[in-house]
């Protein structure tokens, strides 16, 4: 048995790929549900209901998808340039810290300016954090996987220090949380009686912008060339180092936006648990999306839906909600296998 490259894969097949992967994943996971002794059909039905089945479910899923779109974009952009940014979690918290610093009273602007201003400071902070690792990578050849990953812990511990120390809100009854973002800086709700806020619109807009940037601009051209073949890019006179640095600023900035949507949108103030690993899940989102910025939207909604749905499934069917992790992990694995099979065909000789 060996693999043989296929010529010219039709677009329709490529688009259907994630859907096939998800179907395969659900089929595989039904064995686990059977094992847990539940009715598979009912379990998946309650999962689907919990994810998309009601106004509440839908808004909750979108609220949860919002930061995942940003961290997914961060990973997609960086991975496209072969910059292995595992530090979206840290960049998210740096963004959250930046807006807590500026947005809790230090600066006060009308809402139309305040929100963009908060996004701006977060993007700068997140971009600079990733830039540290990138400079180390391009000039000193320090592995960015290691530095970005380790910086996550540095950032998180620093947030801990701030929340237990200087930034601790005296009005919070002893909870380790920072002061609230001022009203002008909050992301407004867009559906009454739900947590959904304008952050989701920013996320959708960001995905479109990134898609346009990668496809139609000079920067995107450079990033793609560098990512696909750094030797050829250098040979062709593309400023490789600058292209990678720009990618770092963009990727770190996008991850930091997830911090904005959580602090200025969903929660209202900074705590140490604003992210249940959005930064890491973003990597999986980007992979499921095949690093396509528009695909990230769908993948993020899928991931958010599975997590929300699994909660309600576990309540209704009495199975562990860890099944969500199993489903998303299986979806990712079957995505990898499916994309291999689309690009190559198996031959038996």
């Amino acid at each position: 048995m060996r693999l043989e490259r296929r010529q010219g894969v039709p677009i329709a097949v490529r688009l259907a790929l994630p859907l096939i992967a998800i179907a395969v994943a659900l089929a595989l996971c039904s064995f686990f549900l059977l094992w847990a002794g539940t009715n598979v059909g009912q379990a998946y039905l309650s999962l689907a209901k919990g994810a998309f089945g009601s106004r509440f479910a839908l808004t909750e899923t979108l609220t949860r998808a919002t930061p995942l779109i940003f961290t997914g974009l961060a990973a997609a952009v960086a991975f496209r340039a072969k910059l292995w940014n595992i530090g979206a979690e840290g960049q998210l918290y740096v963004g959250a810290m930046a807006i807590t610093f500026f947005g809790t009273g230090l600066v006060s602007l009308p809402p139309v300016l305040m929100v963009p201003f908060l996004f701006f400071v977060a993007i700068v902070a997140g971009g600079l954090l990733l830039l540290i690792s990138t400079v180390l990578k391009t000039w000193l050849r320090v592995d960015e996987v290691v530095t970005t990953l380790l910086l996550n812990f540095v950032v998180l511990l620093f947030v801990d220090y701030l929340l237990f120390g200087p930034w601790k809100d005296p009005m919070a009854l002893g909870w380790p949380q920072a002061a609230r973002i001022i009203e002008e800086g909050r992301l407004a709700g867009i559906v009454p009686r739900s947590r959904l806020h304008t952050g989701v619109l920013f996320a959708l807009g960001a995905a479109c912008l990134v898609w346009i940037l990668m496809r139609y601009t000079r920067w995107g051209f450079e990033i793609r060339a560098v990512g696909h073949n750094i030797k050829a890019a250098h040979f062709s006179g593309i400023p490789v180092k600058w292209a990678v640095m720009r990618t770092a600023l963009l990727s770190g900035g996008l991850a930091a936006c997830a911090g904005v949507t959580e602090v200025a949108g969903t929660k209202g103030y900074l705590t140490v648990d604003i992210s249940p690993g959005f930064g890491y899940t973003g990597i999986a989102v980007a992979m499921l999306a095949g690093l396509n910025p528009l695909g990230v939207i769908g993948a993020a909604i899928f991931f958010a839906g599975i997590y929300n749905g699994a909660d309600s499934m576990s309540r209704a069917m009495n199975v562990s909600n860890y099944i969500a992790d199993v489903i998303t992990a299986t979806a990712l694995l079957s995505m990898l296998v499916c994309s291999l099979l689309v690009q190559y065909r198996l031959r038996r000789d």
């Binding site: 010219g8 000079r218 073949n229 050829a232 040979f235 006179g237 593309i238």
Partner: protein
């Protein structure tokens, strides 16, 4: 010729072999036979199906149809071990030796059980020494393979096969890595083998050497047999015609009219961490002239072309391009100064395989206002430009969205030529410009380079193919261990002296070996 003592009765019969890879019919109904004591050449362009056929013969691939008979018995399919056991040996184009093992250990690897290696190698050593003397393949059994030259490594590969008492030896493009002198040695060893009753299949795409060594030639074209010839009763022209399917246009080469110096190197040295350093190189490339570098690969040629293309900065010395000092310039500055670079590794360095053909055509000039404005790529202009270039340079792909890596080697090279020559360069740095290309594509590339010289560009070619250099160049330098010989006008160059110089012998300017 050694065909004189051939005994009747084929040792190997190939009957109706067909093999298909996807849409590509690599072999179609091939039938021919190999007689005892003969050298049969398998001649064909790249992609003609030579290597596929040999891999079937040796058991790497299973044919879709057809059978192979070895001494009248049917050969089991798909088993290299069976082929080896029966006495068919193969020497691949890329060597398969363990560099950290000695010659003897390499020969024994896979032949003897590993546990006996250290205890009982007296008989093995004797056998190896006998073999190497009998066939004139001199090599010290105790040296590490890492210390051997390419020619010696090839001898080890051949000895490895001979040690297994093969009767049929298949050699896949064996001269591609050898100097002319090493080729002569190889040929005399091969003649020795056939004189002693062995049979050899010699795969090649070079006409001249086929004539020199083979008794019969099977010409393959597009997976089919285009003709079987006796070398004594045919001509190079007939073989070329059979191989390409048409007569090749004659190169239009006119005498050089060297004008002003475009690029001057003044005692340039490059010290890299690894090998491939350059020592005190001085070179002048003039407009309207083709200068070639001959040499066995790995003697610093790649460093030199990297340097001339702006991919590397000299440790000491000066580079002057049209009166401007550019010692510390970047690839981009070289491109903008009108230097066209045709890299040695066209797949890895020449193109970004995952990007489209148009994107690869503009990758050196994507900043021009023709292709982008204010940071926005101008898709329509780029597509139009690419279309006209594909027409002019005859790049055959399946459409503009096609990824560049899906193109054939010849079309990738045409893409690179189109990209750099369309900008009317002042200087062309071409590294192995036709390596791996078929004869038809080769002559197109050659003509493009000669045309560029005619229109006043300085052309610099590095090639391992001496025939190519002699066909194109006005002056030659020979490169050995990072040093450059003095310039040799092509009228005074002779292929034997050049070959000696490639191995490090110093030749006086009078042209005699010292």
């Amino acid at each position: 010729m050694s065909g004189a003592n051939a005994i009747a009765g084929p040792v190997l019969e190939i009957r109706g072999i067909s093999k298909r890879f996807g849409a590509l019919q690599a072999n179609r109904d091939l039938t021919f036979s190999l007689d005892r004591g003969e050298v049969l050449a398998l001649l064909g362009e790249n992609g003609a199906g030579k290597t596929t056929l040999m891999n079937i013969l040796f058991g790497h691939y299973v044919p879709d149809a057809g059978e192979i008979y070895f001494q009248g018995k049917r050969l089991p399919q798909g088993s290299p071990a069976a082929s080896l056991g029966l006495g068919i040996g193969m020497v691949h184009q890329h060597f398969t030796l363990g560099e950290n093992l000695s010659v003897l250990e390499n020969v024994l690897l896979g032949t003897e059980s590993l546990f006996r290696l250290s205890q009982d190698n007296k008989t093995a050593r004797d056998k190896l020494i006998t073999l190497s003397e009998r066939f004139g393949l001199r090599v010290d059994p105790d040296r590490l393979v890492a210390e051997l030259s390419v020619g010696e490594r090839q001898r080890v590969e051949i000895l490895k096969a001979l040690y297994r008492d093969v009767e049929v030896l298949i050699l896949d493009e064996p001269t591609a890595v050898l100097t002319p002198q090493e080729s002569v040695q190889l040929f005399s060893a091969l003649r020795n083998m056939v004189a002693q009753g062995m049979s050899i299949i010699f795969i090649s795409h070079k006409l001249a050497e086929t004539f020199e060594i083979a008794d019969r030639v099977v010409v393959l074209r597009r997976g089919e047999i285009a003709g079987v010839f006796d070398t004594e009763a045919t001509s190079e022209g007939a073989l070329a015609h059979a191989m390409v399917g048409r007569d090749l246009p004659k190169l239009d080469r006119r005498p050089a009219k060297p004008a002003e110096a475009i690029m001057t190197l003044r005692s340039v040295s490059v010290r890299l961490a690894e090998e491939n350093n350059l020592h005190d190189i001085s070179l002048e490339l003039k407009a309207g002239e083709v200068v070639g570098i001959a040499g066995v690969s790995g003697n610093g040629q790649r460093t030199l072309t990297d340097l001339l293309g702006g991919n590397l900065t000299a440790t000491s010395g000066e580079l002057v391009l049209e009166g401007r000092l550019i010692t510390k310039a970047s690839p981009r500055e070289f491109i903008e100064a009108g230097v066209a670079r045709i890299p040695e590794d066209r797949h890895e360095v020449g193109i970004v395989g995952e990007m489209s053909i148009p994107e690869n055509l503009i990758i050196e000039s994507y900043r021009d206002s023709e292709f982008q404005r204010g940071g926005w790529m101008r898709g329509r202009q780029i597509a139009q430009y690419a279309k006209s270039l594909c027409d002019t340079f005859d790049i055959r792909g399946s459409g503009e969205a096609q990824q560049a890596k899906e193109l054939s080697g010849g079309n990738i090279q045409k893409l690179i030529l189109a990209r750099v020559l369309n900008k009317r360069p002042r200087l062309i740095i071409a590294s192995q410009p036709t390596r791996g290309l078929d004869v038809g594509a080769q002559s197109q590339v050659h003509q493009r380079l000669l045309d560029a010289k005619q229109s006043g560009a300085a052309v610099f070619i590095v090639s391992e193919d001496l025939e190519e250099l002699f066909a194109l160049c006005d002056r030659l330098h020979v490169m050995f261990e990072g040093r450059l010989s003095e310039s040799i006008p092509i009228e005074q160059a002779n292929i034997d002296d050049i070959g000696l110089m490639m191995t490090g012998k110093v030749i006086r300017s009078s042209g005699r070996a010292a």
